[in-house]
Amino acid sequence: MVVMVTESGVGMSIAERPGGNALAATCGSGEFANDEYRRPRDFRESLLLVLATLWLLDAVLQIQRCMFTPGSSGLSGMLNSMARGNPSWIAHTVTWNASMVYHQPVLTNTFFALIQFLIAFGIVSKRTRKPALALSIAWALGVWWFGEGLGELLSGGATPFRGSPGAVLFYALLAVLLWPSEGSDGPFVAARTVGLNAARIIWVAVWAVMALLAVAGSGRSPRVLHDLVAGMNSGQPGWLAAVDRCVESLFLHHASPLAISLAIVCFVVAIGVILPPALTRATLALAVVVFAIIWVATQNFGGILAGGATDPNSGPLVIVLALTYWPLTDTRGTSSAVASGPVVAATEADR
């Protein structure tokens, strides 16, 4: 059995599946009237659906109890805290937004949730996909500015351990990289949307920024990194609080080596896309593993388990981003033939 990623999706060749004969027999009996039903989903389509699921998760998180609460324990308090450390003119825009939410928590929060439901369900339908993705870009940029205070880039507290340069920026980036298009054959999904060179430039830029943020500003400060995790500890389930205590201790004693290691990983991942496919896969797998660990250990699933989070933070989005650069084993046109060929053959044999 061979698991492969083709342009047609992640999966096994039907003929290689256990029980493949049964499926072929099913096809042969006429249960599948249309080829469309047995063709594996396009890999870009699958990634788009994952993106839509993340938007739906955000929408559901937006209608949690605490989001409708005015004051420091509600959304307005959360937004206010994002102004801290920013230049005054940016801080002013953030507090202006927070004050609107403070005065009309139900109205504003309902509006925020509706927008996110609209984006999520819009991405699913092919007819509304482009407007939904365009809306998601505009919304993400707005939230990055007014809701996340530019991801703390200007306050000096930005570090990928916390989700910088801003989880919401990755939503916008994924919308661009997964934009529906009939681009020429490329070695990975993102290249088929924006072109090979542009995709590589975007990738290198993103990871270079993350490498820089890992060691710049207060990114290497033991106290800052310790407090980052300690601040998330409250309200977490016991098992995650235990993980947090280990990570706090690690940061307190080994902050600089950990930050520098993360910067090196980001640098290696950045150049990974210009290496041969086997090495590219290795560097992408490294990115996925490292950001899965960061998502759990330092981002605490975006604080969702403690309640009061509006998104899962950058961890899962970086992982989806890495998958948009995963080398495809086949090129457009031949992959669907590879995936559906055995089924068709079996169906015809059954007749």
């Binding site: 029980g19 006429g30 009237a33 839509a52 559901v60 109890r65 309902t110 388990l305």
Partner: protein, 226 residues
């Protein structure tokens, strides 16, 4: 204290009751037409809709807790058995029975980690709740993620009706043209088959919509339990 708008819970409760009513009608129509494919899903959705409406709005809850627990435990075992059977027949795949087993488990968890109403306000129960014991939020998050993914992938699927009939079961839902009395053009698109109200009730897109609504609302309730 958190201030939840009561209308939100009334809206959720009402949506759940609408889904329950639809699935009950669908079940009756299917049985009357001797077309029992998907009956277990309709029955499950009916129970879930009624039960979750009671979770969202306390005064809409009825029946002893233990009865609901027995119902959802039975459904959990049923869907686990169907998952195993489906895997034996078709090999490893993400069966929709698996999702329904997870939904049955989520319902059980909602009863095992009950939320107690401290007020009898018609403004709904969950905004005025204290918790006797707490469901592990990690488990709630995993289940909610499964349901939200199921909602999105069901909506996008070319196999309309898969949430009720799966991808391997011989059913009109997967190829409308194969079903007698079905308008081929509309059935191909998974829209309303010809033939009046009974056919409308059995429209694959409507079956999927009921599943999607339940998935989203169940995720919402799981987060509300945190």
């Amino acid at each position: 204290m958190a201030m939840t708008p009561s209308w939100l819970y009334y809206l959720c409760g009402a949506l759940m009751l609408v889904v329950a009513a639809y699935c009950l009608v669908s079940l009756v129509v299917e049985l009357a037409a001797h077309r029992p494919s998907g009956w277990d899903i309709d029955l499950t959705h009916t129970f879930m809709g009624v039960s979750m409406a009671g979770q969202a709005v306390a005064r809409w809850a009825f029946g002893p807790r233990v009865v609901w627990e027995v119902i959802f435990a039975t459904l959990l075992i049923w869907f686990l058995a169907r998952t195993v059977r489906s895997m034996q027949r078709y090999g490893p795949h993400l069966s929709h029975f698996m999702v329904h087993a997870a939904m049955s488990l989520a319902m059980l968890l909602m009863y095992w980690f009950p939320v107690q109403t401290v007020g009898t306000s018609p403004a709904g129960s969950m905004s005025l709740l204290t918790k006797a014991s707490k469901l592990d939020p990690g488990l709630a998050f995993v289940l909610a993620s499964i349901f939200l993914s199921s909602a999105m992938f069901t909506l996008a699927s070319a196999n309309k009706g898969r949430s009720h009939h799966g991808t391997h079961v011989p059913t009109y839902a997967m190829s409308g043209a194969a079903r007698p009395g079905t308008s081929p053009r509309r059935a191909e698109r998974g829209l309303i088959p010809a033939g009046g109200i009974p056919e409308f009730v059995g429209a694959p897109w409507l079956e999927d919509a009921s599943h999607v609504v339940l998935c989203v609302l169940m995720a919402f309730l799981l987060f509300a339990m945190n």
